[in-house]
Symmetry: C2
Amino acid sequence: MNVSPNELREFSLKCFIAYGVPRDQAEVVVDHLIMASLRGVDSHGIIRLPYYLNGIEKGYVKPAAKIKILRETPVTALIDGGMGLGIFVATYSTRLAIRKAKSSGIVLVGAKNLGHVGMLAYYTKLLAENGLIGFACANGPSLVAPWGGRERIFGTNPISVGFPVNGKPVIIDMATSAMASFRIRLAKIKGEKIPNDAALDKEGRPTNDPEAALKGVLLPFGGHKGYAFSLMVEILSSALLGAPMSKEIIHHPSTQGGFLVAALDASIFRNYEDYKRDILKIIELIKKCEPMHGVKEVLLPGEPEELIYEKRVKTGIPIDQETWKRLLEIAEKLGIAPPKIMRSP
Amino acid sequence: MNVSPNELREFSLKCFIAYGVPRDQAEVVVDHLIMASLRGVDSHGIIRLPYYLNGIEKGYVKPAAKIKILRETPVTALIDGGMGLGIFVATYSTRLAIRKAKSSGIVLVGAKNLGHVGMLAYYTKLLAENGLIGFACANGPSLVAPWGGRERIFGTNPISVGFPVNGKPVIIDMATSAMASFRIRLAKIKGEKIPNDAALDKEGRPTNDPEAALKGVLLPFGGHKGYAFSLMVEILSSALLGAPMSKEIIHHPSTQGGFLVAALDASIFRNYEDYKRDILKIIELIKKCEPMHGVKEVLLPGEPEELIYEKRVKTGIPIDQETWKRLLEIAEKLGIAPPKIMRSP
């Protein structure tokens, strides 16, 4: 079934406020979850609402983040998120990065002691809308083996990079694992196989059975090269900031390790107009590229998400049965009216 | 046959000087080529000497780089390399980054109008030896298709990232293509197949025949995720700096597009000792990781190169027949004694 973004927004806001989250913090978190759902990044969208509330109940995250700036220079800052909702802390960190980058050109902001930061594309989009090239990464609960290994050492350790282009930034956002564990669970429910190079079973052998994969370990994308990026994110998000290693993070959909965001003024080396003209040339080359055999069209990173966004803004956000059941339970528990189901036009 | 690093160093130095390269610039380039060969990165080692000299002859690179700083702030600089030998210009840029990072914590230096920069690990190692986390990238002549496409749009667009660890930094260095074109040529000579997902033939179909691959196009590593990194390097190395796009670069082993290096003081957010303790914990987890079925040991990025380095420092640098022939031709042409062949101990 489909639900309108506004219905979901109002409902989620009431839930967070009922759990003691200050309205300004709740608004940031809800805006993020709705945007993730609209972009088709369902694993980081409205599905997370029940888990975030559960994380507050369990004490993994605190409803009201009390943010402290631990260290600061004109080009850097280290944030203590006070174990608040990660999306609020990471958005605060990103906005601080924007203010600093406008005056000094480049900036690096780290955050530790925070919950799950959601979809990294949210932050690099925010940076790109402010004319900034952005980088963001975070480590999470351990699920992924280093290349050649069979133990869970890294989180799915995502990376996002964004480039401003008038109105339509190029947004890269990916887990450094071959597959997200969420998608493996989906394959299990649907009775589908997973690719051969995405996971190992308990005995350390490649498997395409999602159930065996969930008992085993995920693999990094792209073999030893993807592994290098998993490790890079791990170091940047933990050792550099003093945040926990992936192995030290509690396994729960509301938790995260450290979060790092970097921003760079796109006009630091030349006029923005020159940068824009040249990035548009690269984009044009890609859009006009002859597709390989069996492929219709070459897409830019982030383009599939934008296409889903344009569709879902009109048709509403699809909610799976399990999540819908949870939302109804929460509504009943809190005495809030559940979101209305949208009639398709 | 094997040749001692010192013999190769002396010989190469004389060649560059005979071609009009100032001694201080030649020393930097030769040190780099020897280090690449010692680390087993043969494609960026002594093999390049004849090509670099040929690039000077053809006018693609100038023997004496006249470097200009076009723009500068406390945290950034843009270098014009005057079309000099890329290794000299990139090393100059990296040393400037080191000086700036020591005072401001983070820094970004770009360079344009320069020849081939060699092995990026050289620069991130230099940064790591100075306590700096480093990032370097460069674009090159177009060989690689975007994911789903069949046209040569990107170079092999390498990325390197380095992390200081007492004495033994972690050094990541990779092409963002699935395979280097050099390795595909090697497979052709040896009559070997290449992996299925490394290249397309002229008709845009996946191929494991190296000859068909060389007539077709290389693919990015790791599917659409690796493609995103190819694109990232392309934008950072060209549009950001005002350097040529990969498609605009002359195809020759002495050429390059733009070069970007970023450095970050590892103690910017906490004491270096704390950072060191925690990165060593991550390294220990990886080194103790149970290997997957059929694998002996889990290695860190850069570890295979370090193992080759330790061996070749003793046994000398192996030179293939073709390169040896070229070195002898150059020796004769310039009236310089060729390097002596090393007797194995």
